[in-house]
């Protein structure tokens, strides 16, 4: 566990707000995308991209880079904002997301966008793909860590648990999954659509180490990532309790904002609320 000064926490909170602002502006400009799950995961992604991960945006294929896999590929706006803010490509590109000739696809495409380690979109692949990456790292003696960011609804699919069992079989301590447990999916709440609880017990039963945190508490996020790095005999899942649409009052906990774009007035209000939060902590 490392010491995280307040200044670092505040800076990462600022970066998370910037990711939220970029994500919303991108979704508004395109009138397409997934705001709810981008806003819920923004703090986690900020912690990974701007603090935890060893990456080199000038050298996206660096063999020793930490790997980030966005298994919940529909939060692509958030990933693209993080990649642009990290310097993988010009921020101007974000304005062209979804254009026919733009490298930024609706969902992440590893062949088109620098910094995207794996193509995603249809849910469920991240853990099992991460198992393969982590095994290759072990075989080659490479020290990098693989992080898989998943949605909660995604855990309703069997492939997630196939991957979880495989990761446990090979005791992949270099693999960490993070579940953005915002409890809202496309059609409603997770407990109404298909309950996941007790989710921590499910992962424990698969022989994973489990850390449960508030996914909007930056200090808890950093400490959880630190702890995951100190577990050497098994993979770790961080179950991050989050709020769908976090930071925008009219989006919070609303399944309608899973995949809907704000209009001009809604965007203005959303920006004001997120910027306001900057001043009020």
């Amino acid at each position: 566990m490392y010491f995280h000064p307040d200044s670092q926490i505040i800076e990462l909170q600022e970066r998370a707000r910037d990711l939220r602002l970029d994500s919303l502006e991108m979704i508004h400009r395109r009138q397409a995308g997934h705001p709810g799950g981008s806003l819920s995961a923004a703090d986690i992604v900020a912690a990974l991209f701007f603090h935890k991960m060893r990456i080199d945006p000038q050298n996206p294929e660096w063999p020793e880079r930490d790997r980030f896999i966005l298994s919940k590929g529909h939060a692509s706006a958030l990933l693209y904002a993080a990649l642009a803010q990290s310097g993988y490509f010009p921020r101007e590109d974000l304005r062209h997301w979804g254009d026919l000739d733009c490298h930024l696809q609706g969902h992440p495409d590893r062949l088109k966008t620098p910094g995207v380690n794996m193509t995603a979109g249809l849910l469920g692949h991240g853990v099992a793909v991460g198992v393969g990456i982590a095994l290759a790292a072990r075989m080659d003696g490479l020290p990098f860590h693989t992080y898989v960011l998943m949605g909660d609804g995604e855990c309703q699919g069997g492939i997630v648990w196939e991957g979880a069992m495989a990761a446990a079989k090979y005791r992949l301590a270099n693999l960490t999954a993070i579940v953005d447990f915002n409890n809202v999916q496309l059609d409603g709440t997770v407990q109404d659509i298909l309950p996941l609880e007790p989710l921590a017990d499910k992962w424990r039963a698969c022989n994973w180490a489990v850390i449960e945190i508030n996914g909007h508490d930056m200090r808890q996020i950093l400490q959880a990532l630190d702890t995951a790095g100190e577990i050497h005999d098994r993979p770790t899942v961080i179950i991050a309790r989050t709020t769908k649409g976090k930071g925008v009052s009219f989006m919070e906990n609303k399944s309608q904002w899973h995949g809907a774009a704000p209009n001009d007035a809604q965007l203005a209000q959303a920006i004001a609320e997120i910027k306001g939060a900057r001043h009020h902590g």
């Binding site: 193509t119 249809l122 692949h125 793909v129 393969g132 982590a134 290759a136 196939e162 495989a166």
Partner: protein, 313 residues
């Protein structure tokens, strides 16, 4: 040439190639004693992953290994790989263009004893529809082995279709194969039989029978269904004026479909297709009986050849 099962030719070649290429990783889904990847597993246990009856997971793991610079061969039953793991193959292998080799064993009706759930008669059609996928159907054990180094050294997704059975031997162990280049096994001017997999040997027998009836049949082995060797097909169409396709697969969308597309777009000539006629198959005591019962017998090929020659003028 001794008849050995195609899966044995593949499994032994994979183990032998393991010594040559340390980047080759083998995955299996609790079928290594059937696919015969156990030869590789015994020699290279550190490069073998048995991940249980979870084919979708196996494919995604192979994708991750490929992203890590390895050359994974993912092995299982064709019916499970092409159907249950299809979305993994579409999204994470073909679309993401990861360097995964899918070795689909027990293909066609070669798992005669387990019945139609285990038969795989639509996998070629499925895989052929996928951009960036290479689809290869060896004719016999020697050829299956010959493909191992070739597909390992090709950079991109490959679907290699392996029979459980000892198909009629066609090739010496020294056979050389090239992706996308069909093989002319027998020349002839009256009709061309374009065959793949177990139907190659049967088509050569059919050509012998046709010769006894005074008909001169050319036999092409079209091992690569995608990318299809269009120039070889069009040359045969121009020179013989009639085509028969023969495959251990439904006639819808497989080799027959691929050849029909080439012909109808570029050089229409009469075409007959030998294969399963849009029906599910049955359990049987042998693969050979099953093939005969579902329109893939030697007589089905000769009859198709005679029909198509009649249609020429």
């Amino acid at each position: 040439m001794a008849e050995i099962p195609m899966r044995e030719g593949y499994g032994k070649a994979l183990a032998a190639y393991g010594a040559v290429n340390p980047n080759v990783i083998v995955l299996d889904a609790d079928t290594s004693a059937s696919t015969l990847t156990h030869f590789f597993a015994k020699q290279y246990p550190q490069r073998f992953y048995n991940i249980g009856i979870a084919e979708p997971c196996m494919i995604d793991m192979a994708v991750g290994l490929a992203l890590g610079g390895k050359i994974p061969f993912a092995n299982g039953f064709a019916a499970l790989l092409a159907l249950r793991a299809l979305e993994q193959i579409r999204t994470c292998v073909a679309y993401a263009r990861t360097n995964v080799k899918i070795a689909a064993s027990y293909a066609g009706v070669s798992d005669f004893k387990d019945g139609p759930t285990h038969h795989s008669i639509m996998d070629i059609a499925i895989m052929r529809a996928m951009p960036q996928m290479t689809v290869i159907v060896p004719a016999d054990a020697n050829e299956a082995g010959a493909w191992v180094p070739v597909i390992a050294e090709y950079d991109g997704p490959v679907y290699l279709r392996i029979s459980r059975a000892a198909t009629l031997p066609v090739h010496q162990s020294s056979v050389t194969v090239q992706i996308g280049k069909g093989i002319t096994l027998r020349d002839g001017g009256d009709v061309t039989i374009i065959a793949a997999g177990s139907m190659v040997g049967r088509s050569l027998l059919a050509a012998d029978q046709l010769a006894a009836r005074g008909l001169d049949a050319r036999v092409l082995e079209m091992h690569t269904i995608k990318p299809i060797d269009a120039p070889l097909i069009l040359q045969a169409a121009a020179e013989t004026g009639a085509i028969v396709t023969a495959e251990e697969h439904t006639i819808l969308g497989g080799l027959g479909g691929a050849v029909a597309e080439v012909l109808s777009l570029h050089h229409p000539v009469p075409l007959e297709m030998v294969g399963v006629h849009d029906t599910f198959t049955r359990t049987a005591p042998t693969t050979e009986l099953l093939m005969d019962a579902f329109c893939m017998g030697v007589e089905d090929v000769t009859a198709a050849a005679e029909r198509v020659i009649q249609r020429k003028r």
